[in-house]
């Protein structure tokens, strides 16, 4: 019968659709808070790259490495000081040759002992061009880097290992740097310098799907893009064992949802409160709302490679623009005091002794609309009568503050079109335009420190041809002061030299400091002792579950 065959077709069609979905079902236990005893559920973002230490340069992957690895040094989450961890001592007589002695007894969670080779092999792997590790440039201080990782596009390595690394025995090795760098040992807390077990090299794919480290946690299960379950490693013998049973990291696409989940008691810890919720966060969470300084500074830079901005009067205009920005009002209105107006080029987390100095920038970073207008008029007005401010708008609240900065400048100059915001859709597009020197006006630059040293806030960004010198600033005096500071063995004197170099920045103003960014977060009543470290990453191992 005709009718019935037609009906069969329809039934088949539906059956196919249903069967396709049936395969995915399963798993009825609802995710979120609770679960096994002492487990903390925390928000996470999908790491950009595979979780190799030398290939992870963003905070989401950094969170995992922080739990999974312990390097030669670790930054004290309270003071920010680099303290020996796996290293027993790191000594030098000339600020260039370092002798590193390891503590005995450290092992990876698969039983493999942590030896000099664990570090030497890891660093050689990280530096080698063929491995295309994003943090390769961190090894550039070590002698022989140029042979392993030539700078030029298309060049091939002439050596497979760093010449500056020499193994003495299982617990001792020496490092020769290419140039003097007195505070180099203090950079070793960065995750790029973490040791790697033999299994990393013998079965790379298996290691990536379930990384093995020497830190207080082990990876229990890892579903890429969704969840990672970290569990306390009972065999961990380091001084900072986990105070909880484990951490369940859960990927959120939208931090608004993470915040709603926290309110609904579905998750214990959210470490980035969306700007739109900051207003309510304090009343919603009370003292479970975290807002503390982090090593992040936001700036706007100028394309000094553009003739408009490199003229003799341009510095004056840049200073004028800086004075026209009402930092206090913007940080209060838009960021609800989760950012502090900046008055130097470093961060408060360094502390006075570490080189932070409020007010170092002086009048140039103080809001003064009349003086701003005067300076800019004296210098012949804005080049082309207008300045643009370019930023990506896919993350954070970049559009909000960019508009506010432009309004502030427009008000100060009494011209509605003095500053125009130029939004760019994605971060990828924005960065690719910045690095290919396509900027014509101000553009957003932010810096999250790699290690809590004043050197890290200055040299990578303002030194001639440095890796993050997006404005392509170059000044002989600045470079000279940085070199001197790096060679100076006395920390206090070195810090003073770094601050002198900052005074050069105040004169040239290649980048306007806007504000110091705080780390924010919130947590449920189930957990306590929650703090963020200087990198705005929660100190997971200290969290207590009640």
């Amino acid at each position: 019968m005709r009718g019935s065959t037609r009906l069969k077709w329809a039934v088949c069609a539906t059956a196919v659709a249903l069967a396709a979905t049936a395969c995915g079902g399963g798993g009825s236990d609802s995710g979120g808070g609770g679960g096994a005893s002492g487990i903390v559920s925390a928000s996470w973002g999908d790491p950009q790259s595979p979780l190799e230490p030398a290939n992870t340069n963003e905070v989401q992957g950094g969170k995992v490495l922080d739990m999974l690895f312990r390097g030669l040094k670790k930054y004290n989450p309270k003071t920010g000081k680099a303290e020996n961890m796996v290293a027993a001592s790191i000594t030098t007589t000339d600020s260039q040759n370092f002798a590193i002695k390891l503590n005995p007894g450290w092992t990876f969670s698969d039983g493999d002992p942590v030896t000099s080779d664990s570090f030497i092999n890891a660093w050689n792997y990280g530096a080698l061009l063929k491995n295309a590790q994003k943090n390769a440039s961190f090894f550039r201080f070590i002698d022989g880097y140029d042979a392993v990782h030539p700078e030029k596009e298309g060049a091939a390595s002439t050596a497979q290992t760093l010449g500056g690394l020499k193994k003495v025995d299982d617990l001792n090795f020496t490092v020769k740097l290419g140039a003097k760098f007195s505070t180099w040992p203090d950079t070793l807390g960065y995750s790029a310098y973490d040791p790697l077990p033999k299994s990393f090299f013998s079965d790379h794919a298996a290691w990536l799907s379930k990384p093995i480290g020497n830190g207080p946690y082990t990876v229990d299960s890892y579903t890429k893009g969704q969840t990672m379950k970290m569990r306390k490693w009972a065999g961990y013998k380091g001084p900072d064992a986990a105070q909880n049973g484990g951490i369940d990291l859960r990927v959120y696409t939208d931090n608004n949802t993470a915040y709603t989940d926290l309110q609904a008691g579905n998750i214990d810890l959210v470490d980035d409160i969306p700007a739109s919720q900051l207003k309510n966060a304090k009343s919603d969470l009370g003292d479970r709302f975290i807002n503390q300084p982090a090593g992040i500074i936001q700036t706007v830079s100028f394309p000094l490679y553009d003739a408009k901005w490199s003229g003799p009067n341009a510095a004056k205009i840049r200073q004028g623009l800086s004075m026209a920005i009402n930092r206090a009002q913007i940080t209060e209105q838009i960021f609800q005091k989760t950012r502090e107006p900046a008055s130097d080029w470093t961060s408060p987390v360094l502390g006075e002794a570490g080189g932070f100095k409020a007010g170092l920038c002086g009048d140039a970073c103080t809001f003064n609309p009349t003086e701003a207008k005067k300076l800019i008029t004296e210098a012949g007005g804005l080049p082309g009568g207008q300045v643009t401010l370019t930023s990506n708008v896919d993350t954070g609240s970049h559009k909000d503050w960019s508009d506010a900065v432009c309004n502030s400048i427009n008000n100060a100059l009494g011209n509605d079109k003095a500053c125009v915001f130029n939004p760019i859709g994605t971060f990828a597009d924005f960065r690719s335009k910045v690095t290919s020197k396509q900027m014509t006006g101000m553009f957003r630059t932010g810096w999250q420190m790699d290690y809590p040293l004043i050197q890290n806030f200055l040299q990578p960004i303002y030194y001639t041809n440095a890796s993050s010198n997006d404005s392509h600033y170059t000044n002989a005096n600045f470079d000279k002061l940085i070199n001197e500071a790096n060679a100076e063995p006395d920390t206090a004197k070195a810090v003073a030299l770094f601050q002198d170099s900052e005074k050069q920045l105040a004169i040239d103003m290649p980048a306007i400091p806007l504000w110091y960014q705080n780390g924010t977060g919130g947590y449920s009543t189930k957990i306590s002792n929650v703090t963020l470290n200087q990198f705005s990453v929660p100190v997971y191992n200290e969290i207590k579950v009640s």
């Binding site: 995710g31 295309a132 440039s137 890429k224 969704q226 709603t260 690719s432």
Partner: protein
Amino acid sequence: MGRYVIRRLLQMIPVFIGATFLIFVMVYALGDPVAAFFGDRAPDPATAAQIRHQYGLDKPLWHQYLDYMGNIFTGDFGTAFNGQPVTELMKSAFPVTLRLTLVAIFFEIVIGITFGVITGMRRGRPIDTSVLLMTLVVISIPVFVLGYVLQYVIAVQWGIGEPSVSPEAPLNELILPGIVLALVSLAYVTRLTRTSIAENTRADYVRTAVAKGLPRRRVILRHLLRNSLIPVITFIGTDIGGLMGGAIVTERIFNIQGVGYQLYQGILRHNSATVVGFVTILVIVFLLANLLVDLLYAVLDPRIRYA
């Protein structure tokens, strides 16, 4: 019938090639993805070149496209920038989104058609006016507003259900997101059914059926509704593709790691392998759904025949 289906399937080949090429070019036009890998740091030229070489980004566009198409036929959809093969992403994302879509379609059909029949039968009565007003409200409010409001009120204020969906995405957690996803289409289905029913109540065959003395229930379900469903089915069929691709907003609000999430991530990172792979599958789903709709016409209306 069989020949018709084969012809339709063959027609999909040029559409498939054209769609993949267009999307490939569009993602390529977004710009170089490598600079973003390095965050606020400028990539050193040698490493950047190495990464470009790894992903084949150093080849000209046509070469990249040919490589990509060649690989697709061996089942290799490329690798996302986080090191995962795209097929693996698809395996985890598509079942989740498909389930979400089916939940949405379920609500669309059950609630939408019921409301449509009720209002169509009672034109001008208070129930008709109030349902019409409700659909108008739903259509005019953006999805993300509805999503956030329902999420907050239902999950946080009232504490029924969860504000976000766990990675396994079981059906019971997909009810709320499914309703949010379905709401706008549901309003359209209601209005379409209503109009169609209203038109057909005056048709000859309905009068005949009533005159034959058939029970009212049988008249409505068997004669009136069946004939009125053609435009509705057309809408729902095309909506399947639309819902799957358009779930980006809903998936984001409820943290569902489905197709929308992967597409969003892929676009942000300028990852052509992910975007092209996912959209290609979506295109195929869309084409198949349309074919299915055309076949269903024949079931609903015996006058339609395919040869």
